[in-house]
Structures are given as structure tokens and as C-alpha cells.
Amino acid sequence: MKQDKYTEKLTYSVRSMEQLTAAAWSMVIECPDVAAKAQPGQFVNLLPDGNFTLRRPISICGIDREQGTLRIVFEVRGKGTAALSQLRAGDTVNMLAPLGHGFTLPAKETRAILIGGGIGTPPMLPLAQYFGANAVVISGFRNQDAVILQADFAAAGAKTILCTDDGSAGRFGLVTLPLEEEIAAQKPGLICACGPLPMLRATAAIAKAEEIPCQVSLEERMGCGIGACLVCACRTVDPDGTEQYRHVCKNGPVFNAEEVQW
């Protein structure tokens, strides 16, 4: 990595690196200045070493202000995340963070249902830690081999419900079934969700029908990550019904479900 005074500002140390599944990695980054400001739902934008033009956005999965660290959990999808998965404790990483607009949190006492699908589960962890025993975390994965973070959710004191597409771990099927059961059991004050678009769409539809406030964390391919280049567009509707493009990196990644043009 080039070492001039500007690049130094974005250069941080990897505190630890742990492989969670065949594809998923957990990285803890030493970044006191970032940890001090970071909020649940925000993301970091990492420039892998090698010939990459664009940074890779990854949600924040843990904020430790005392240790001055952030934790991220990511899955190897392509070349960029593959390069990031090569990093080890002591290596440096080029990171722009914290970025974006996170979750807007009501009182800790609110009953909150947190829904994560696949690699969308990591941003739910800081929320589970916030709501503690008032949180129900429903996570869905392809199969047993892809399951991550269940012990962390339990440690946060949340009720955890695990689903897999093939029933190889936890309940068989989609997260929307337990969601409806939990709503029926006791209507929550908030639903938060992150994961594949169909899952978010279904969750938003249920929340709307039940008139429960719902916040979703969206993904879009990004450039600058700070709201200037306008590539990360997402179609939204204003309360008055006018459609417009807002930007996942700045106006989001967390949006109120009603804002989103599904």
C-alpha cells in the first residue's frame, strides 16, 4: 500500500481475523476514531490490495468503543472479498468509515424483531446487543454450512430463531413464517431487516399490513460511498407519492420500508 500522509489517514490495522464458514470471515479492525462515531447500520468501505478500482462496502457487525475496534463479517463473493479474506492480524487495510445512515433506534425497551438473511445477518448484531432480551432475531440461511453469528445473538440476550432453506439447521423454510408467528404472539414496536431483496420485500409487506415501523438495510453497487458520485441509486417514494432516486451510501443503507419503491 502506498504510504503518503493521505493514505495513512485511511490505513488501519487488522486486530484479528477468523474464518466462520467455508466462505465467511470475521475481521476486527483497530480504528478508535471510527469506533467512537460508528452507529448500528452504518458501513465501512474497504479498498482491497491489488488492482482494484472500487472499494467494497461491508456493514458494521460490531462496535467496541472501549477497545477502539470495529468488527465486520463478510462472505467471499468475488475477487475483492477474496483479497480481503487474505488479510491477517497485523496487516493493514485501507478503510473509509463510518459511512452512511444507520438505524434510527427507539428506546431499548421496545420489542424489536430483527431479521437477517444470509450475509445480511451481521448488521443485526449491534441491534440485538442494543435491544437485548427485547429482541427476537430471526436469521435465514441456505443451509447448515452457511449459518453464522447464532452464538453472538444468543450472547446478546436475544431470542434467536434459525431457519434454513433446506431444513438442515433450525426450522425449514423462510424467515417470514416465524416473523408472522412472533408478530401474532406480541406485536413488536420495530422490525429491522437486512438480506436478499425478496426477503426484504416480503418483510416490508408484512410490516405494512400490520402497521409496524420497519427499517431495511439495502445493498447497491457503489463508487465513492459518500454521496458524491450518484452511482448507488435506489428508487424511493416521498410521502407525497413522488418517486425519486436516493443514494444507498448516504441516504441509506438503512431506509424506512415505506420510503422504498419495492
Partner: protein
């Protein structure tokens, strides 16, 4: 410490490094990182006559040492720009180049006329925008259409007029000569090449627009070539851009003929890129005992 100042069309720049249109918005997002007064100038996001929402996402793809974008000129329209963005920009103590575009020559002229009444320093007319009258081919790809739009805009403003050229042409020198003949005070180049990438898994083009503008280090050799060709073909100053990532790249474009250099993709990657490039240019000049950046312009010695 070398003298980094340059002068283009009578406008003094502190240094020759200017964030390119479209990657810097209206500067606000970068103020959290540094003072905009450190920049040579700022080329603002392309502005049209009325608000544009832009293209459907995905709007970005990565390529080997480059990127594609298909933002589609999303902008709030010229009136909102003048009302909400320009006053703040003009208070930033740097040269503001208002980048404009339109689907007809009249739209471009109307936008320019509105800017003419402001204190903006320069107008940069992007002629890569599809010309609705001529079946959607960009103004910048035919000499006739380019001449026509520049003539219309020239009538609408007495501000220094920079015309930004498209590289997707058989002969960029012909276009450059045509716009200079219609009164362009300077030309800037290159805008993005046209590129495409496909997602192998879904077999869909990555960009929802199928094709998009290709920028970044990959295109640098095309930029050097076109800046050199154009600087040798017209008498007006050239503002160079395309893939500049370092102070040495900036020096290379200046040697090829550029009086100043815009930086696009480098800023998408790293918000500090322009400051780093200014420092690197200064260091390179110092270590080569060159007193002034302006000396570099056009100093290449062809074989």
C-alpha cells in the same frame, strides 16, 4: 516548493488539479475531509435545464484498472443548482467550473444564459450528451452537431467557455477544431469511453443501461494520446483528464499539452486523491528542479 499556479483563459488557478465533473457532486461531501480551497478548481456535476432523475441502477461496474458508470446525468436542474449549490461553492475560494449538458442546443444555451448572470468562473459544456434532435447520437460525435451547440452556448454567455470532448470518435482533432472555430475558449478531454461488462452468473449486463462510461487508470494512454493530438491541433488551452491517479500522471498529461488536469475516478476511490496528487506533482517538480508547473504544458519532444 514549486510554483503550481496556472492560468487558463485569464482565470488564475492555485494549482492545476481539479476534481472532474460527476465524481465530486457539488463538493459538500468532501468538506468533511479537507478544505475545498486547497483545490485548483472544482468541476461540478453536470447540470441540465430541468431536474433529471438519472438511469436505473445498477449504475456502476468495475473493470481492470477502471470502472463503468451510467448515472445518466442525475441532477436537480440549473435553477436549483444556482439557488442551492452555487453560492456555497463560490464561497470556497477556488475556481468553479459549472459543467452543463442538455438534449438540445437550446437547452444548453438556456442553462448557459442562466449561469452567465451568476459569478461562476467558467462554464464547461459537456457535449457527450445524446442529442435528441439528431437521433440520440451525442453532440460530441459529429462536427456539425458540436459546432451548432457550441455556437448556441457561445451566444448565451461571455463567461470563459470550456467545451468537454468525447473520446468516442474517429477524429477528436476535427471536433476540437470545430468547437474552437465556434468560439470555445478552451477544451477539456477526455470524457468517458463507452464500455460494457456482463455478469457471467446472470448473463445480464452489469449496468442496467447495458453500456456505460469507462474511466480510470485503464484509459490513461488514450487520454495522453488525445490531449497531445488536440493540443497540436487547436490554439486554445487544453484541460486534460482520464485516468490520472498520481502527480506523475498529471505531469505526463501536462507534457502532452494540458494546462490543467482533472481527476475523476481517483476521487471515487479515495477522497484525498486530489490533495495527494497536488503534493506528488509538487514533489516531482522539486526533485526535477522545475520551478513551475506551467512549464510542463506541451513540453513533450516528439520523435
Amino acid at each position: 516548493m514549486a510554483d503550481l499556479s496556472v492560468n487558463i483563459c485569464g482565470i488564475p488557478f492555485k494549482n492545476p488539479i481539479i476534481p472532474a465533473s460527476g465524481v465530486f457532486g457539488y463538493g459538500r461531501e468532501y468538506e468533511q475531509y479537507y478544505e475545498l480551497s486547497r483545490l485548483g478548481g472544482i468541476a461540478t456535476k453536470g447540470t441540465t435545464g430541468t431536474k433529471r432523475t438519472g438511469n436505473l441502477p445498477p449504475r456502476v461496474a468495475e473493470t481492470p484498472m477502471g470502472m463503468l458508470n451510467s448515472v445518466g446525468l442525475q441532477n436537480p436542474g440549473i435553477d436549483a443548482f444556482i439557488a442551492n449549490e452555487l453560492p456555497h461553492l463560490l464561497a470556497c475560494d477556488t475556481v468553479i467550473l459549472a459543467n452543463i449538458a442538455g438534449s438540445t442546443a437550446e437547452e444548453c444555451a438556456e442553462v448557459a444564459a442562466k449561469l452567465d448572470k451568476t459569478d461562476v468562473h467558467m462554464i464547461e459544456l459537456n457535449i457527450s450528451c445524446p442529442n435528441v434532435r439528431q437521433g440520440g447520437a451525442a453532440f460530441g460525435t459529429s462536427c456539425t452537431a458540436a459546432s451548432q451547440v457550441v455556437a448556441a452556448v457561445r451566444k448565451a454567455t461571455s463567461k470563459p467557455l470550456v467545451v468537454k470532448l468525447s473520446p468516442n470518435v474517429t477524429s477528436i482533432t476535427e471536433i476540437a477544431k470545430a468547437v474552437a472555430a465556434e468560439g470555445a475558449d478552451a477544451v477539456s478531454l477526455i470524457n468517458t469511453l463507452l464500455g460494457m461488462r456482463i455478469d457471467l452468473r446472470t448473463r445480464r449486463p452489469i449496468l442496467h443501461n447495458n453500456m456505460g462510461g469507462f474511466s480510470g487508470p485503464a484509459i490513461f494512454p488514450v487520454a495522453v494520446r488525445m490531449v497531445w493530438q488536440v493540443a497540436n491541433a487547436v490554439d486554445v488551452p487544453v484541460i486534460g483528464m482520464g485516468g490520472v491517479m498520481s502527480g506523475e500522471d498529471a505531469a505526463e498529461l501536462m507534457m502532452a499539452g494540458a494546462s490543467a488536469v482533472q481527476v475523476g475516478t481517483a476521487i471515487v476511490q479515495d477522497p484525498y486523491a486530489p490533495l495527494r496528487i497536488i503534493d506528488e506533482l509538487n514533489d516531482w517538480l522539486d526533485s526535477n528542479h522545475i520551478a513551475s508547473a506551467a512549464e510542463l504544458t506541451g513540453s513533450v519532444k516528439p520523435w
